[in-house]
Symmetry: C2
Subunit: 347 residues, 2 copies
């Protein structure tokens, strides 16, 4: 199988390097690397060069590092690092973003939540990834009164909602059977359509218990009692906010992976939840676990290698339980040494 | 001064009744009550009757309870309880929503956060309240392919951003001098305009230190290290989410008030952050403190009665410190008994 590695900016190259070492230990893969984000802009003048997109498309799975660099924040939007990420998601049709949030045993201290509450978190956030206000018509203009204005259209159609709802129900079916759909139907028509369609699809899943929650309440409940959630399905914008919040409730953002899928099986993109962290880039301080766990998701969802995925996840858990800690977890291990600990546990 | 009381639905009547008792103890006011929300719909067929809106407009300040009732969720949008709240905000031009989040000493146990982190919270969220995707063109329709779709336009113009930014800077000036503007400028044009205008206005406030944060990161930071924030200024939708999250970090949603203002001084509307809580309505279990503290904000912002406001806030703090607790705080006091405790501390 061909795995495309897009290291990107900041700590992206450091963490994907370690994830690759772990992949090499569990299987025989072809790897090809290509640049993306600010790094690609520096080399080619574009954050998502054609060659990078072509590589992603012909690969069996993409391992993505991170993008973003304050240096490029004032470029026009289409040339910023973020445009590469949004572009790949859209071009590859990766409409389903799976973001698990779970506390690793031994990391109770890393969460701001009381240990007993932090330990109760085990939620999978299913975020729609190619629609919503992210991809609606957007721009800046002038009002009749001559004022500058900015606008972005929030929008979903029923087919977009139905397919992500099915991913939510399927995910819940394989877990505890509880699906919570998050929207703002008391204010937004987009959300009203969302809620109506989710209810329609629920008829196909009599064994999953469906509930609905407004997004403001969900943000509250994720702090108050995160253990109540099994699977959350929500739109692109609300999913962006809630998944970051949930991952922080679960302790370190340095521990959590994500998968972006075009449906069941097949090509997917896998990346840590954390960003490019320019402040610590190149210093060997980054925690490679999120990237390593992203590689495990890659094996599970795109390559069907469930056993290898299980083994990697167990190895990360063991390394943590044995006390391996990077700086974000209050320890002193370097990026490479942390990966060594995982590789050791894997052996 | 004329204070309009709009009790609304669920626990709204119970908590505003107690807030009125507290107001009566500190001054000589005229009170007029009118129905709003589901209660008004039941009586008149409309959630915001003309007489209610007229009363609000001719009053010096409005004390609002809560609205919302699952019974009315399937009505057309303009007849739902929420329409009343959005309607008053818009009709009265209440563009600035101030939501303080702070832990009351003695309530450490009520927060899901570790006590030392919960204790560090002291943030004022300044939320824009009459624009954004809440009030943009919205509707449902059919796509070219014949699919149902729903849409809502997110939008701000520079005047809307400038005036709420000024409220943010003024608020920060009176506090620790730190303003964090929250947006999603890496994806949204509305946010890009927001950020540009906030930066322009910052020139008027050289003594306030301005920072910017993406909303997903802000949701994370409010869990990780909420003590870093002094004042947050943000749009209507992000403010809705973050203020509920922040209030839960600070312990009980039953303790936190809000003010909705049309500018500095003058007519404003004051309401608890909590909702109508239909599950406990009419049982005398609701915590009246959020409504009582909303009355204190009313005295402070609309009537210029700073001393009386200070005294009420101190009385609530004292009642809590002395151990008064409603059910949401793990105690057994009824709504009325909790208010008695505050009145006792005030005397
Ligand atoms: C970098 C940004 C465009 C992106 C998003 O908002 O989707 C990021 O926050 C994420 O969640 O992957
Ligand atoms: C009830 C709802 C329309 C309202 C809002 O979203 O503004 C509420 O959540 C609030 O924050 O006051």
């Amino acid at each position: 199988a061909l795995i495309a590695i897009l290291p990107g900016d900041g700590i992206g190259p450091e963490v994907t390097r370690e994830a690759r070492r772990v992949l090499e230990q569990v299987g025989d893969f072809d790897f090809e690397e290509a640049s993306v984000g600010g790094a690609a802009y520096r080399e080619t003048g574009h954050p998502l060069p054609d060659a990078t997109l072509a590589l992603a498309k012909r690969s069996d799975a993409v391992l993505f590092g991170a993008i973003g660099d304050p240096e490029f924040e004032s470029l026009e939007r289409s040339l910023r690092p973020e445009a590469a990420l949004l572009g790949i998601r859209k071009e590859l049709g990766l409409f389903a973003n799976l973001r698990p949030a779970k506390l690793f045993a031994g990391l109770e201290e890393a969460s701001s939540l009381r240990p007993e509450i932090a330990r109760s978190i085990d939620v999978m956030i299913v975020r729609e990834l190619t629609g919503d206000v992210y991809f609606g018509e957007k721009g800046q203009g002038t009002t009749d009164a001559g004022l500058r204005e900015g606008h972005d259209l929030m929008r979903y159609d029923e087919a977009e909602v139905a397919r992500i709802a099915r991913v939510g129900f399927e995910t819940a079916k394989r877990r505890k059977g509880l699906l919570c759909s998050v929207d703002k139907a008391n204010v937004l028509e987009t959300s009203q359509l969302w809620r109506d369609v989710v209810i329609e699809i629920s008829a196909e899943y009599p064994d999953v218990s469906l509930s609905h929650m407004y997004v403001d309440n969900a943000a509250m409940q994720l702090v108050r009692d995160p253990g109540q959630f099994d699977v959350i399905v929500t739109g692109n914008l609300f999913g962006d906010i809630l998944s970051d919040q949930a991952s922080m409730c679960a302790g370190s953002i340095g521990m959590l992976p994500s998968a972006s899928l075009a449906g069941e099986g097949g090509l997917g993109m896998y990346e840590p939840i954390h960003g490019s962290a320019p402040d610590i880039a190149g210093q060997g301080k980054a925690n490679p676990c999120a990237a390593i766990l992203s590689a495990a998701m890659l094996l599970r969802y795109s390559l069907g290698m469930t056993d290898a995925a299980d083994r990697i996840e167990a190895a990360v858990a063991k390394a943590i339980a044995d006390g391996a800690r990077t700086a974000d977890l209050g320890g002193t291990l370097s990026t490479g040494a942390m990966a060594d600990a995982v590789l050791g546990a894997l052996a």
